[in-house]
Amino acid sequence: MEISVTESGDVRILSFKGNLDTNTSPQAENEINGLIEAGAQKLLVNFENLDYISSAGLRILLATAKKLKASPGDLKICCLNETVQEVFDISGFATILSVSKTEEEALGAY
């Protein structure tokens, strides 16, 4: 899985490409934790090129959202593909994680 980090103002944008599963989630976790430790408070995760998310991936997202909420900070997610959107809908995570359709929309919401 590839993770690229870009910046837009004080928001760090993480773009995921490939699968976010048990094998790749430690990499993603390290990347996110690294950004938070470096002082980033506003994170935007772009799932436009994400093919699949497993429960391990969901766990990282939930843990990060919890961590940033306490700091205080904010985690937003955008550009979910159909499968990932379904997982979010059915689990109800779409209501506790801030999900936007496009990156611009998400950035505008900070």
Binding site: I90, F93, I96
Partner: protein
């Protein structure tokens, strides 16, 4: 028009039923035991006739069902009645005896009074009795088993009464010769009540094949009637035994078949030397199923019915959960109907695993009644409970991952299960389904997210 299954018709039929019984007892009694006074009690007889004449008019205005549809236009109803029972009813209600009395006076017929013999035509009313009982079978409150018992008892008692009347009339018509049974039993000069008691006593002893021999036939006609009654008695005896056995078993058919099933399962478990604890659990389950659904499997029972009818019943059965289960609360009526048809209802016993750890999710489970505990199979650690209205199983199914915990029924637990195939089909046909699930899970997203954070996938 009077509706066939209306309250008015029911009340009227109840009255007519009583009058039929009165007629069928009174008329032959008078014919056999009260020949000397042909006109006594005529007021009651003719008053009853009036009711039956009114009944004929009401029958012309009573609706009937053709191919399951109630026909209520008057010409069709009259035609329907005219083709079936109108002639019998008219013959049974017209005071022909009175007409004969006026025209020709009281003549002789078969050794008895012609007026009283014509009055016997009222016995045709018995046909109406069976029509009424058949109509009552269509009422939802009626118990077919109980109605059959009533029909059977009424038939037997009336038959015995009529035979007793014929038995005495044989002696009367022949003029009570010394060798007639009545003369030998010394009841010729007794009152009609004593004569009737002897006659019915003889009928019962002969019909039940007891035959004490204290009253015996001596004349040809008496021998013939005795032989006929004995034949009837023997067949009736077999019929009674068979009918009573079948009635008793049909009244308790559901309970019997339930207990038969329990017995065969218990026998199977005993043969295979299954521990008593499991045997007790099985019995406990069957007891619950009996208490809850009278031992019937809803899924199997309703499969026989056509789709729309099945849906109507399911909607009624599920009326309580439609209000409480969030899934249904947020559905459109079409989606709700589709879900009801597709969901399978299942009961789990206390302590049984509903969805096991390590299994791939293939269904979503909706809790209708009872509660479920989430536990780790190896450590037996509890991760919380789910109650009525909650649902689980979708994470494993949608993510395509194995479950990381087991769900176990705490008490008896009634669940509705939606399998993967139906889930995908409904999702494809009803785009709103995802939204419905989203809203249904909104109330407990916190709990789900805590579980996911702990690595629990159900």
């Amino acid at each position: 028009m009077i509706r066939e299954l209306s309250r008015t018709r029911l009340l009227w039929d109840s009255l007519i039923l009583v009058l039929i019984l009165v007629s069928c007892v009174m008329v032959p009694y008078q014919f056999a035991f009260n020949q000397g006074n042909a006109l006594s009690g005529f007021q009651v007889i003719y008053l009853i006739d009036l009711f039956f004449i009114v009944d004929i008019f009401l029958n012309c205005r009573t609706t009937f069902r053709r191919h399951g549809v109630e026909v209520s236009d008057r010409p069709s109803c009259t035609k329907y009645y005219a083709r079936r029972l109108m002639v019998v009813d008219i013959l049974g209600s017209l005071p022909l005896d009175l007409i004969a009395w006026v025209l020709i006076g009281n003549g002789q017929f078969l050794g008895g009074s012609l007026v009283l013999a014509l009055r016997l035509l009222r016995l045709l009313r018995i046909v109406r009795l069976f029509v009424i009982l058949r109509r009552w079978e269509a009422f939802s409150w009626s118990n077919p088993g109980a109605l059959r018992v009533v029909k059977f008892l009424v038939s037997i008692l009336l038959l015995m009464h009529w035979l007793a009347c014929i038995w005495f009339f044989l002696a009367f018509a022949s003029g009570f010769p010394a060798d007639s049974w009545a003369a030998r039993a010394s009841i010729v000069d007794s009152g009609p009540v004593a004569q009737y008691i002897r006659s019915i006593y003889w009928t019962i002893t002969t019909m039940t094949t007891v035959g004490y021999g204290d009253i015996t036939p001596a004349r040809s006609a008496e021998y013939v009637l005795s032989a006929v009654i004995m034949l009837m008695g023997a067949s009736l005896y077999a019929f009674i035994i068979g009918s009573v056995a079948s009635l008793l078993s049909s009244i308790q058919a559901a309970k019997n078949s339930h207990w038969e099933r329990i017995d065969s399962v218990t026998e199977f478990l005993r043969q295979r030397q299954v521990p008593a604890a499991i045997d007790a659990k099985v019995r406990n389950y069957y007891e619950y199923v009996w208490e809850h659904d009278r031992g019937m499997n809803k899924n199997d029972m309703l499969n026989d019915l056509p789709g729309p009818l099945r849906l109507e019943i399911l909607l009624h059965l599920a009326s309580n959960i439609l209000e409480t289960v969030p899934l249904f609360k947020n559905c459109s009526p079409i989606l709700r109907d589709e879900l009801l048809i597709s969901l399978e209802s299942r009961t789990f016993t206390p302590g049984s695993n509903i969805a096991g750890e390590g299994e791939m999710g293939r269904s979503i489970y909706f809790i209708v009644e009872g509660s479920v505990e989430i536990i780790s199979a190896d450590t037996q650690k509890s991760w919380g409970t789910l109650g009525e209205g909650d649902y689980f199983g979708f994470m494993s199914m949608v993510l395509g991952e194995r479950r990381t915990a087991t769900t176990r029924a705490i008490g008896f637990c009634d669940l509705l299960i939606l399998d993967k195939e139906n889930f995908n089909r409904i999702k494809a046909e009803f785009p709103e389904f995802n939204d419905v699930l989203k809203r249904a899970s909104a109330e407990r997203t916190e709990q789900i997210s805590e579980l996911v954070l702990e690595g629990i996938i159900l």
